[in-house]
């Protein structure tokens, strides 16, 4: 049998915002053109002693019905949008938020604006060489600002009925990244991993098995919420 993953991370977001590219950058350390994902793709990442499973889902509406299955008992949900496309942020709330109903109760959310390299916002973060090489290539106007993402994050917490005091702070959970040049990509994945590890440790201590069984996750949670 395969090793049971200790936790589940799910990437959600509209098509073409760069979910696969973000993951590709993180896992393979490079950027390449990808084609539209079908269904979902599953990856295992070793993080210290833990096995982290990552689901890279298709953003296409065609596969919408599968979303809640991918999200079932997820510990981390990374909602991804394209900073140059306001609609992609709107879609997160309209189309993807209710998929997260099946996620774990203590699921952590991150809101990620990708393709920051396409805007003129990143100048400061880029090396001079990079900027020179691209010269005066036309930059797109950034459509989605950090404040919009933070506001969305707060609405998500409300939707999940999580008190903001118990949830990680909004400014810590909203990222702007570039899968193309790698900006903030490691930071994103590593900070969410570091944030959920304590949860796993807690679960392991509480759970009946010494490994977390995904199929049994529900019962573990129920027991926990019962005593609170």
């Amino acid at each position: 049998m395969m090793k049971k993953p200790d936790l589940k991370v799910v990437l959600l977001g509209d098509m073409n915002v760069g979910k696969t590219s973000l993951l590709h950058r993180y896992m393979e350390r490079r950027f390449q053109d990808t084609v539209s994902t079908v269904g979902g793709a599953f990856y295992l990442k070793q993080w210290g002693p833990y096995n982290i499973s990552i689901w890279d889902t298709a953003g296409r509406e065609q596969f919408h019905g599968l979303g809640s299955m991918y999200c079932r008992s997820a510990s981390v949900i990374i909602l991804t949008y394209d900073v140059c496309n306001m609609q992609s942020l709107v879609e997160l709330e309209d189309r993807f938020l209710d998929l997260t109903d099946t996620a774990s109760d203590d699921c952590i959310f991150a809101v990620v604006g990708n393709k920051i390299d396409l805007t003129d916002d990143l100048e400061a973060a880029e090396s001079d060489g990079e900027r020179l090489r691209r010269g005066s290539a036309t930059k797109l106007r950034k459509q989605v600002h950090t404040e919009d993402a933070i506001a969305l994050y707060k609405r998500i917490m409300k939707y999940r009925m999580v008190d903001e005091i118990h949830a990680p702070a909004a400014d810590k959970m909203c990222f702007e990244t570039s899968a193309k040049n790698g900006y903030n990509v490691d930071l994103l994945f590593e900070s969410v991993f570091n944030m959920v590890i304590p949860l796993i440790v807690k679960k392991k201590a509480n759970g009946p098995d010494d490994t977390v069984n995904l199929a049994q996750n529900h019962h573990v949670k129920k027991a926990k919420s019962g005593c609170c």
Binding site: M2, H24, V35, G39, G40, F42, R60, L66
Partner: protein, 544 residues
């Protein structure tokens, strides 16, 4: 029926063919033809007139014949059109430009409301008025209680296919018959269905006539583009057969047996693919008792995999419909590469949406068994020399061939297969390959003409001589150097058939293995089967 609408509406060189035109005449003619085909002797070779380069109708038939307007107009203008390979796709192409208009083949998909869904070249949006005209043609003929099949002009053929709420149109300069173009459209329709299912497409348009299906197909254009590329190069679609990787028989058997051992409930097909060709396929005994994996479904599946992304470490889990197997239900496909260079790919099809982890466990088992037996190295070694040159046959006059065996015992329910050497020598360039493929298409259309099927064609073309031959045991297309004589050609074919016989265990999957995911035979198998025919339990219909 309105008789007026049945008249071919011709304007100069343009003729419109309706589905029921001259119905009575056709059927009486058909009888004659069937009779003549039955009398045809396999060794009846009739000379083609070598001076006439045109692929006209009368010079290479076995019997004297009446006129076949469909076929003769197929071949109109062949020599000039054979060249021009398809240019690389540009979705942003200017649809008013001459270069767009002169494309070899356009394919359009639209909804009954006239909404554009897909265009091979150019942006569908920019084509909405063109598609509106197409829909107007379809509905005009429909209003006369008829349906439009095709429009023929000197250089182009427009073929229509209506499938449920979708209308598919092919506008082609390629020398293909109306039937072949229609079949291609059918593949395009099936590929759309493979992503959405027929039932859900029907339901969507029932609810909202002017629904924009591009919302659901967004991102899938590449899959349709690559399908259309394959249709223009891969004889498998034409023949309704799959090409499998040539492998030593023992290696294929050992790989199959590894697959049969890694099973889990609801797993129905295990397919091993290398370089987009079939290595082996294993099927669940109970489910597939009276049907088999259709080659069309396998083509669609392989195309979908080829056009989708995942890097090596990933395991894909996606719903897919196999339209020939069941157009209304989903399978759940597990797709994972087994080697770092992404050449060997494992596809496991389950009927249970929730079975990802169990199916992924099967992959682990398969991978471990393959490691233990060193199968991947063996497979990689075999792959290096799996595509073969026609020179292996050892007959210099033979330039190329396509062979599809028909004598596979039915009890094995084998997948139709074919084999063909790598086109080399005179066919190294893309243009020449396309030209050869067009010739094969022409022969295929003559052999399988519904009006007048033939069993043997000896055809002298400009640069080569071709011979197509169908018997109860095989379907064969061969290309010879133009210096070959008829007797010479027969000798070469005899040698070729002998060579294939010798190699057949390597070239084809002869005995497909099966497994049973229900461990206990007898009672267990029976209950397993009832499980699977109950739609509420098997996940077949959960996607609806």
């Amino acid at each position: 029926m309105d008789d007026d609408s049945q008249q071919p509406q011709s304007m100069q060189a343009i003729g419109v063919e309706l589905s029921e035109d001259n119905g009575n005449e056709m059927s009486s003619e058909q009888k004659n033809i069937e009779a003549s085909a039955a009398e045809t002797k396999a060794d009846d070779l009739v000379d083609a007139n070598p001076n006439q380069k045109d692929l006209t109708d009368s010079d290479n038939t076995l019997e004297d014949s009446g006129d076949f307007p469909g076929i003769s107009s197929v071949m109109g203008g062949v020599p000039s059109d054979v060249s021009s390979p398809t240019a690389p796709l540009q979705r942003e192409e200017d649809v008013t430009a001459e270069s767009w208009r002169t494309k070899r083949k356009h394919v359009f998909v639209l909804s009954e409301a006239g909404k554009p869904i897909y265009s091979r070249y150019g942006n569908e949006e920019a084509l909405s008025s063109t598609m509106g005209v197409m829909m107007a043609l379809v509905s005009f003929v429909q209003s006369g209680n008829n349906s439009i099949r095709s429009i023929h002009s000197d250089k182009q053929k427009v073929v229509f296919l209506q499938q449920g709420p979708l209308v598919l149109v092919s506008v082609s300069r390629a020398p293909q018959s109306e039937e072949q173009l229609g079949k291609e459209l059918q593949y395009v329709y099936y590929q759309i269905i493979s992503m959405l299912t027929q039932a859900s497409v029907a339901r969507i348009f029932e609810r909202k006539k002017n629904y924009d299906l591009r919302r659901l197909l967004a991102g899938s254009e590449k899959i349709l583009d690559s399908l259309l590329d394959l249709l223009d190069t891969d004889p498998g679609f034409l023949l309704g057969a799959v090409r499998c990787v040539a492998l030593p028989c023992q290696l294929r058997d050992s790989l199959s047996s590894i697959l049969t051992k890694a099973i889990t409930p609801n797993l129905v097909f295990s397919i091993l693919v290398a370089e987009h060709q079939l290595v082996t396929v294993v099927q669940e005994r109970a489910v597939i008792e009276d049907c088999r994996l259709d080659p069309a479904d396998l083509h669609l599946l392989l195309n979908l995999i080829g056009a989708s992304s995942a890097f090596q470490a990933g395991e894909i889990w996606t719903p897919i419909c196999l339209p020939r197997f069941n157009p209304d239900g989903y399978f759940y496909a597990y797709i994972s590469y087994l080697d770092s260079s992404c050449t060997v790919c494992l596809v496991l099809l389950s009927t249970d949406k929730e079975s990802f982890y169990a199916v992924s466990g099967c992959k682990k088992k398969i991978q471990e068994a393959m490691e233990a037996q060193n199968s991947l190295q063996a497979l990689a070694g075999a792959l290096r020399c799996c595509s073969y040159s026609v020179s292996l046959v050892g007959v210099p006059e033979l330039l190329h061939f396509v062979y599809k065996p028909l004598d596979i015992p039915d009890i094995y329910r084998q997948l139709p297969q074919f084999t063909s050497p790598e086109p080399d020598g005179p066919y190294s360039s893309e243009e020449e390959r396309q030209r050869l493929f067009d010739l094969y298409r022409y022969l295929h259309c003559r052999i399988h003409s519904s009006a007048r099927p033939l069993r043997l064609i000896y055809h002298v073309a400009e640069k080569e001589t071709l011979l197509a031959w169908v018997t109860s045991k095989f379907e064969l297309y061969t290309a010879f150097s133009s210096l070959v004589t008829k007797v010479g050609a027969i000798n070469v074919i005899t040698k070729l058939l002998r060579w294939i016989k010798r190699e057949e265990d390597r070239l084809f999957i002869r005995y497909p293995p099966k497994y049973s995911t229900t461990p206990v035979p007898g009672k267990g198998v029976k209950s397993g089967r009832t499980d699977r025919t109950d739609p509420s339990q098997n996940g077949f219909f959960t996607g609806l």
